[in-house]
Subunit: 273 residues, 6 copies
């Protein structure tokens, strides 16, 4: 239902009171066949969403897909074929491609990060650094690319950060407050910046410990100190260049905002045949 | 009004039924001072929007700004100071920064493109390749970065593309149809791929001619052929590496989807003091 | 999509928590045949919208149409036949007729204006003087009646009026500001009240010049002065009595708010057989 | 609350992604004084609504009113003065005037009808023949003009029409069914076309009897026959020419759809000083 | 239409960004058969609504019903069988049952009240004491249980209470004001607390008289005094223990808020086979 | 923001196009003082919400509160005093009281359950058995009454029930699937009906084990078997009569749907002074 609303808003944003060029040049009865083609190598994400864009405009458009989300697509490959009203095809083209290019861009970048971690247990996590309104789809693209999702928002996971610790008067008090207040199906993650903080978090049995912006060697010491008593998430300065050495420290998860806020769109186009 | 709706949706997406960590660790009466800091050089865009995020949560939050949209900000500079309820500050932080980082990312990239064109008349244009729901803000960021906006959507500008030309039976017929149907305050732009098509478009007095994916030398010939009888927009394969030689051909505008769909977020953070 | 929302709001407005008379007197299973009949001569507009009203209440209602939008209908003619659930037919009757009578009223009046201009090039234009929420449908009815649309709103066309001219410091400056700021697919129309202002607008190459409330002979002089260098729109004091002599001056367009804000509804009724 | 939603929709319809002319020619800080002036004699309705339009755009606009809804305004009179941001004044102008002209048009026409009935007890009633989305405001304008409201919609009053009578198997059965089903605070009105039907409706103690499209002399006989045992509403063929003789028959109410669906807008304009 | 919105909101409330347990443990293609079973004796209400919940999630779910609203169901009886996607069945289960248990709870309690009045003319009425957002469905459940509806809200019935009487300056003035202002299809009910007030209400020909919180013997006197000249509604201190003696006084209606605000949910469950 | 939407919907539901009785009998300028009074002993919940109802109608209504949510209120006590426009006070009365009576009803019942558990560690939990649209407020009332919240919906906590276990092929596989798929901040709860199932859940290190509908002595054995290795939640057949002996078994939590779906409203009224 959320998806349908997002698509309707996107179409309203683009089409407004009408597609004046198509209405002038294309007869209402005209039908066409269109193909969606990858213009570069990519990991596909968002094909169902793109189809839903066209069906929102005209439920009678026929869509045949030649790939599915998660597939590695080679430049030049046809991803899908659409047939139906020419006006609807052209009216939906831009919104459908905008979604497909953005989500496939995220999936493609995620796969690159995941591939760098091969051989280590570290899972690649997203963050809450998403484009407003797009979180559900962007987090879906992360999974399609082989990554894992962090909590969805502020409401479905506890992450005690420095500001919470200061306000509560220390890690111990913060954890204790959350144990009383949050429901019993939630674990507690504590953000730490030093080994001392890691020690404190362990002392109060934090379920998950985030190592925030730690140098690699400190991170390695932290993992040793934790020694399986808590899950470990590394965060900060995660790039394609640094992620493998972070994974080597033995952390359970590596999270990066770039996966969602800086993934370049991949090139996909639609051609009317 | 649209802006307020977008902010409310973004906050609902992130906060859902409640910020469980802050509610457990921070008293409702707690107040704090926070600063928003640039972590890299950037062109600022979205400061008013970010402020509106906090005011949507709590109209009593005080915001002092040390910069304004369009300013070039140096890494380390404080952009704004906020004071008010700690819970509201933390609840708004992520959404406010997500918007500020994305919009400033677009403005920063746009400025880079614009700088490359210095000395030539070519204006840098955006496209309809935007993130669903974000077009109004993204097009604002383009202007902040020194770029110009293309039409907003399908409804406020005529752009006759290859599919329209095919459907109408040639450039002449397509232009003629639009002249009859579109309102009298709209110009007509025609997409061309060859010098022959440019000639056809000139023959029917297209107001604007788009040179789509033409090699640089063909583009140069096209500009000569047009000779001021229409505005000229170059499109396709526009990158930081290619844009200057495109500008040198003498086109009036250069449009690029990358400005909106692939601008990496810039790094901005918020610290509670 | 907008249309569906408008229909849902109209039905909610009329039916609210329920049609108490029909629920008491008509069994849920009852089916009927109804005909929609013109009670006066008219130009039909809004038949698809009216059908959509009934389908919004019950997608199984069968609708046969005996005319289409734009047809001249003679008093007494049957326009459409509906068969389906009696309750749904009666619940939709008023909203469907309200739309059909209003839109056909506009189309009918527009045709009268257009007929008066026969033999001259002047197109009959609508304005932004529409009923809130109804603009898209009302502008559609204008086209059905043989008129042409002016810009849809403030966002898809430039019209520099006296207040803009004063604020900018003259016609020249106002036009120059718009040229810098508005996108390159928009023409510029300037409102003028005197021949001096027409001269100024010509000097800065306004694309369209509006002659606002000018006496007929001044209008004639203005058309001569412009001499094809800009499109000319006449506005003000346009009635069925005056429109022909305005057309005779040689203007390209004549715009009138009455077409939308004062068109009387035509008489159309629905009978259950 | 409904009103606010209607205003927001009307502004969104007109302004869309932005007022491109004002943004180009008027500085954001510019302030102005504007007056709203009657260009013809009229009965004012909708002044609060119009003010709310401007306040929806900018709560800081100052509004002084020189009249109130229901006042008879003479051509040339100033109705209100506004001072505030020039851009907001111009952006709100059209929507505010569209509402004010339409509602005052209805109030003015209603007053004309009411004046014709002076000396008789007949109240002038509106109908459900309103513009979709505008019913609450249009019914308000009816009251302002001295008329009375009929039921708001299908949900707050019982009106048994011919189709209900047929479906129920006669007037007696229809009235009986409604007595069982509708809540105990609702009266029952029955539509009649002949004196026989009036007799039937009286027999089952209908609270209100509508005389639908009856010739004047039949109407007079019906009123005599009813003799105060039910309220009497005349309906059909009600015009400024016929209404007085209808009132003379002694009916309690005269209802007319023209009041809402065919009232011409009155001429009101806004001038920036 | 309202119903669909209510169901969508309820599903969004429960499912949010996703059913994490089912997504992890149940394959997307899995299909199942489920039965809805009564765990106690009850009067069924809300079966169509519950079905609509599942169809909102997946229109392909097949639903066979073994009972209909209004049926008395014995503990252990199967009410309906569903077959379709397992994920959709589990995602809809809670919302569907929450509605069915609440509405059947109201219908069951209403039937108990109605049964107590058997042999007397008194109808059992609901009130406006409903759960926000649920009024239309709750009032439907009242009817299913054999009760009758009072006015829906403040807009479709006149009930003059003590505060209105005080503000207007007495019962006579209040009734007179309403006669002038409310539309002619509405009756007038007056709330009374003493026999004197009953007398006053009779004097001005109130259509309905509410006896509010009167002792049984005063109520009996009031009914005698009214003697059929107005409908009589008893209100206040209505319980399963007191309702029969209230009915014995001869009142026409007995209204009770408990029917909607305090009806315990009945026990209904869904089992996957 | 959600709260405001809920209040607006509730007011629209009750007031619709207008409060006809108050508009007829009370002048627009009339102001009054009103008090909200408890008619029975209760635990207060929802005072802020009720205040927001009045402020939604008129932000100028002054509200003084004599108690706060969570307070035990004695019958007859004044809870709050309001002063402001009489019409707004009466228009808001029913919605404000409906919310206050329902939420205080839940808080009062919850306190009764919590009191029964005094001396034992068992926390009293709510469920997802809430009225559609009211979950956030109902769960708030639970906390106010001294209870604790279970997960909010299907999206913020994992609860593996019998259907998930069957679909996954056993408890071990279901837990394993969830471990792979759900984010790392979520614990896993498993529903068990027998001691064998408890043993299986322990074997795969379920974080929380629900004992569903177990006899008291089996429950006691289960708690012994679990012996602190998982949190224990008792569910099923929880009433005021049974809850204490359930608490005596040593479980950590006892959950009951009755707290929300069957709490009778408490009696609170508003009087205009």
């Amino acid at each position: 239902m959320n998806l349908r609303k997002l698509i309707e808003q996107a179409l309203a944003e683009d089409i407004g009171p009408g597609d004046i060029t198509s209405e002038a040049t294309i007869r209402a009865e005209s039908v066409s066949i269109a193909v969606i083609i990858a213009k570069q190598d990519l990991v596909l994400a968002g094909l169902d969403v793109s189809r839903a864009v066209f069906h929102c405009l005209d439920p009678d458009i026929q869509v045949s897909v030649f790939a599915k989300d998660g597939d590695k697509i080679i430049a030049g490959m046809e991803i899908a074929k659409l047939s139906g009203g020419t006006r609807a095809l052209l009216a939906g083209e831009r919104v459908a491609l905008n979604l497909l290019q953005h989500l496939s861009g995220i999936a493609t970048l995620t796969t690159n990060y995941v591939d760098k971690c091969r051989g280590f247990k570290a899972g690649v996590l997203d963050t809450r650094k998403t484009i407003p309104g797009m979180r559900q789809l962007e987090k879906y693209a992360i999974r399609v690319g082989g990554g894992k999702n962090h909590r969805f928002g502020l409401f479905d996971g506890v992450l005690i950060k420095d500001n919470h610790i200061k306000a509560a008067g220390g890690i111990a008090r913060a954890v204790e407050s959350v144990r009383k207040s949050a429901h019993h199906l939630l674990k507690i993650e504590v953000e730490t910046k030093t080994l001392d903080e890691v020690r404190e978090a362990l002392a109060v049995k934090a379920d998950v410990i985030m190592l925030d912006n730690m140098p690699i060697d400190v991170m390695r010491d932290a993992v040793k100190m934790i020694d399986g008593r808590a899950l470990v998430e590394a965060s900060g300065n995660v790039t394609l260049d640094t992620i493998r050495q972070i994974a080597e420290t033995g952390v359970d998860f590596i999270s990066s905002g770039s996966l969602t806020h800086s993934a370049p769109a991949v090139d996909i186009s639609m051609k009317i045949k």
